[in-house]
């Protein structure tokens, strides 16, 4: 099986089968991420489609010297998900409030590109962070809030939020060091 970098090169050369293969590898992780951000199945599928259409259009822009395919795809999906979240928030989310779906975890190991031990490593690392650091990182990552918005949300001074976020990220990097080459460490 081709590795992810080779798949992206093939997609850049308009290989539809390579896109299908990349989709099969990443659909579960990316859809789980979008469900966590949007909490709405229909919106999450819509954004996942946008993400793979952008991969199709822009695969040639991927530069393996600037990070792993995992980071590129996850960053792209998260960015699109947060954009959609803000659009929905601007519309006060009234229309989707009744259509929210519970994210149902599934066991789909054959198609999930990431072995459970990598998930476990990240969850274990996060569990070792002090609660006040962990909360800030998750608010930033999944809710797309700025540092000022987070300070207002948690009722802490902006300087404290900045210090705690930085400390949390440094601790996370230290704990994940060497825990999985697919993650880019």
């Amino acid at each position: 099986m081709a590795n992810d970098v080779e798949l992206l090169k093939a997609i850049a050369a308009r290989d539809e089968a390579a896109l299908a293969q990349l989709y099969d590898l990443y659909r579960v992780i990316l859809f789980g991420l979008l469900m966590r951000i949007l909490n709405n199945r229909e919106e999450a599928e819509d954004v996942l489609q946008e993400v793979f259409l952008q991969v199709w259009r822009r695969a040639a822009d991927f530069d393996e010297n600037r990070g792993r395919p995992f980071t590129w795809l996850v960053t792209l999906a998260r960015s699109r998900g947060i954009d959609r979240l803000r659009t929905l928030a601007a519309r006060e989310r009234v229309a989707t409030a009744g259509a929210q779906d519970e994210a149902k975890a599934v066991s789909d190991a054959t198609s999930d590109a990431f072995r459970s031990e990598q998930r476990e490593a990240v969850n274990n690392a996060l569990a070792q962070l002090p609660d006040e650091q962990k909360r800030l990182l998750l608010l930033a990552y999944f809710d797309g809030l700025s540092q000022s918005e987070i300070a207002a949300r948690v009722g802490a001074p902006l300087g404290t939020v900045k210090t705690r976020m930085r400390a949390g990220m440094m601790k996370l990097r230290q704990l994940l060091a060497g825990k999985g080459s697919d993650l880019g460490f």
């Binding site: 299908a20 992780i29 819509d46 996942l48 259409l53 600037r66 519309r91 000022s148 440094m170 996370l172």
Partner: protein
Amino acid sequence: MVHEDYKEMIPAHALSTLDSADERALNEHLEACAECRRDLTEWEAVAASLSLTADPVTPSAQLRERILDRVHTEPRYGSEKSPVNVLALPSPRRNLWNSLGSLGSIAAVILFAALIIAVIVLWQQNRTLREQNETFQLLTAPGTRVAQLSGTPEASGATAKLAYDQNGRAILIADGLPRAPAGKEYQLWFIVNNKPVPGKTFAPDNRGRGIVRDQVPAAARKSAVFAITLEPAGGVAAPTGAIYLRGEL
């Protein structure tokens, strides 16, 4: 700020959580600092690892087919914003007076300017063609729905069509609308269960024609009332003005 100050901001930048002023300042620094760009690559990987704390969820089987159908039929675009993996580097500065030091250079500058103008014209034409192509694709896509909006007594001669595909990509084409007064624009609304959800605003041209692209909220795609009101320019969160056009599906 000095290099070390910027370096401390990079983890937050990787989470895209910096406030806008900090983000602008850091982006300027990143253009000039290779060390910080390398740092950013590492921190982006740390940030991306947080995605693994989300529970894995499987999308519907139909989504795979929809994506592959789309890529099979669509041309590749050239102007979409690049993903974050690629960072633009600063262009080298040129000394204008040196460039003008000879007639050959002057000719080159004129040729370059002509080329730039030609590129801009082609880009505009390409953008127009792309918009027309997108509109055509939307109107002819399987599953596209079209709502007919009729003028209310506020604009009895006005009509509009709102077409949207199964992903909610929509285009509204309105005709016969009165000119919007200064400081006012027309605004599209999606009304679901009697709750209006704001859409985009637009100002019609001299002939009363207005075109606007928007995204129909998921909950409004199966059944909704669509309305156009006159509102303060830029739009409002809840309608305040009279309804000029109305229709439903």
